[in-house]
Amino acid sequence: VPPTILTPSGRLDAETAPRLERDVIAAVDAGVPCLLLDLSDISYLSSAGLRVVLLAAKRLRDGGRLAVYVPQASIASLFEISGLTSIVSIYRDRAGALAALSG
């Protein structure tokens, strides 16, 4: 089954995160087993955005798989600072993320 890919763009903050949260919940509720969050078009990531990623990880914990594609060094660093790297698999290249989900 090919992974479902969500691709938010622009700023992912308190104002825009709820939209991504709705998409994540809809995907999980639809029974999606593999989810790729492609954050390559993100220009800014706030704690609200990080929380949505955490929510996706929690929702997919039982039987699902999640990968996050973050090519931007500054945003990838945010995942490290927040400690989310210990919970979610972060990839700097898209192919690696897709391979991890299909593997």
Partner: protein, 524 residues
């Protein structure tokens, strides 16, 4: 050798002492013994009107204290386990349940009581190292026995006092209807139990010391005093707690407001009303007074059946639920809850979760007033937990090992939360006013990262779900590697002090969250 006339006085005073010791012991031991089961029954079974009536009456029979029932129900409502609208009829039915003791007190149980006192007392002496639950059950039996032996002595003393000075004093005090009514109200304010005052009135009436009309007015005064007691004890309650205190107090007044005019009208006109009904149902003065006591509990029940919605609306208007933003005021903990360690610890936990929920917002926009409020709340929780521990040390509350561990855990969590709040505030103040540039960017990244961790803390502290706690442990793992890297990346930055200060505070805050997660895990 005894002084003439001293024996009935000594019998009376000794009986009174035994009676009060018994009733206090009964209520305190029953709260300890049945607190958890009562909570389970209230929260798990009180769903239909019939179930509310059964659970309420059972609670009243077991606890024999309107005050005790009121404050237990307030604790359960405050803990979010029961709606105030359900607690209100439960209170009324429980008040009715307290009539059982009054009814039993009108029967001569001297021999049964003496046997029980002997058996329970000897058993307790021999079973000094016995299980806490069994010893508490025996203490309940002994308290009941003491209460009835005291009551019999009281009756005996009262009968012999009939021709004495004390009898004249009591007769004088209650000679007028108003005097008897006042005596009942003041007596209940002093004894904090309308059933105690009523039982003493039953004894006095059975001994022929009090005419039935005056004794009935004394019972009504006792009901008024009981309402006053609840209002006095709950004077510091707020929001929904205040609603329930007012409800209990006002319904007691309502019972008197309904029954008293009937009694006064009957005395004045001689029309056969409530007193006549009581007399026609029983020849015994004690049972007749029991019926008056029951009428005082049934009248508010009948009124509530008709006026429930307007009563609830009015109380909500007088004492609206506390706004969430009034951080300074505890929303969950309150002193009257200290009587039940289990529920008190749940309340303290919920109060702590309120602080945890504010940390991410404090990080984003620190506010000095809010910081002072949170600090005050920390101190209040610390004082509350200290009071529970002190009650255990003083022996006024039995605290098993598991509860002592929970207290220690919550105290440690309180301190960790206080230190975390302090670190978050310092971080937020240190970040403010940084000129834009690489250090400000670092501060923003650290803020967003820490905020995500604090949001996770909020989830775990609020629900205490094992999954959330496990995630919190993971997300708050050691950050020394990433912090070292960030410092190295900014080694050339101008404001090195800000870099070190912010990264150190960040590391400290994350470490404190990790400590909190471990404590949450230990508490599971």
């Amino acid at each position: 050798m005894t002084l003439p006339g001293i024996e009935p006085i000594a019998t009376f005073i000794g009986g009174l002492g035994l009676f009060f010791t018994g009733i206090r012991g009964l209520s305190a031991n029953m709260q300890q013994l049945s607190g958890r089961r009562l909570r389970e029954a209230v929260t798990g079974r009180a769903h239909s009107a019939a179930a509310i009536a059964v659970v309420g009456i059972a609670a009243g029979v077991l606890l024999q204290s309107s005050n005790g029932i009121t404050f237990i129900l307030i604790s359960i409502v405050t803990a979010g386990l029961l709606q105030a609208a359900t607690a209100m009829p439960l209170m009324l039915w429980a008040n009715l349940g307290t009539s059982v003791l009054v009814a039993l007190a009108s029967i001569d149980l001297r021999l049964v009581a003496l046997m029980l006192l002997g058996v329970a007392g000897i058993w307790l002496h021999l079973d000094r190292a016995g299980a806490t639950g069994r010893r508490q059950a025996l203490e309940v039996v002994m308290s009941v026995a003491m209460l009835f032996v005291g009551l019999e002595l009281l009756r005996e003393g009262t009968a012999n006092l009939r021709v004495g000075d004390a009898a004249d004093t009591l007769a004088l005090a209650s000679a007028s209807g108003a005097g008897a009514f006042l005596l009942g109200a003041v007596g209940t304010l002093l004894t904090q139990s309308s059933s105690s005052t009523t039982i003493i009135a039953v004894a006095a009436s059975q001994a022929g010391l009090l005419p039935f009309e005056q004794a009935a007015l004394l019972v009504l005064g006792a009901s008024l005093g009981s309402g006053g007691n609840v209002l006095l004890l709950g004077a510091s309650a707020r929001g929904t707690q205040k609603q329930l205190v007012m409800f209990q107090g006002l319904t007691k007044f309502l019972g008197v407001a309904i029954v008293l005019p009937l009694v006064l009208l009957e005395i004045a006109s001689g029309w056969p009303l409530l007193l006549h009904a009581a007399r026609s149902l029983s020849d015994d003065a004690g049972r007749q007074l029991t019926l008056i006591y029951v009428a005082c509990q049934v009248a508010p029940l009948a009124a509530y059946a008709v006026l429930a919605a307007p009563i609830q609306r009015r109380l909500a208007a007088i004492a609206p639920p506390l706004p969430a933003e009034s951080l300074r005021q505890p929303q969950f903990i309150y002193d009257a809850a200290l009587g039940d360690a289990d529920i008190a610890l749940i309340l303290a936990q919920k109060e702590q979760a309120r602080i945890a929920a504010r940390l991410a917002a404090t990080l984003e926009s620190p506010d000095r007033t809010e910081a002072a409020s949170l600090l005050h709340l920390h101190a209040e929780i610390g004082r509350f937990l200290g009071a529970i521990a002190s009650a255990g040390e003083a022996g006024t509350m039995t605290l098993p090992r598991a509860q002592l561990d929970r207290i220690a855990n919550l105290q440690a969590r309180n301190e960790v939360l206080r230190l975390l709040h302090e670190a978050v505030l310092q971080f937020a103040h240190g970040r403010a006013g940084l000129p834009s540039g690489e250090v400000a960017s670092l501060a923003d990244a650290l803020t967003q990262g820490l905020s995500a961790v604090l949001m996770c803390l909020d989830d775990a502290a609020r629900d205490g779900a094992a999954d959330d706690i496990a995630l919190l442990r993971q997300i708050s793992s050691d950050r020394s590697t990433v912090v070292d890297r960030l410092r190295r990346e900014l080694i050339q930055a101008r404001d090195q002090q800000a870099v070190y200060s912010l990264t150190s505070l960040f590391e400290r805050a994350v470490w404190l969250v990790q400590r909190y997660a471990v404590l949450l895990e230990d508490a599971k």
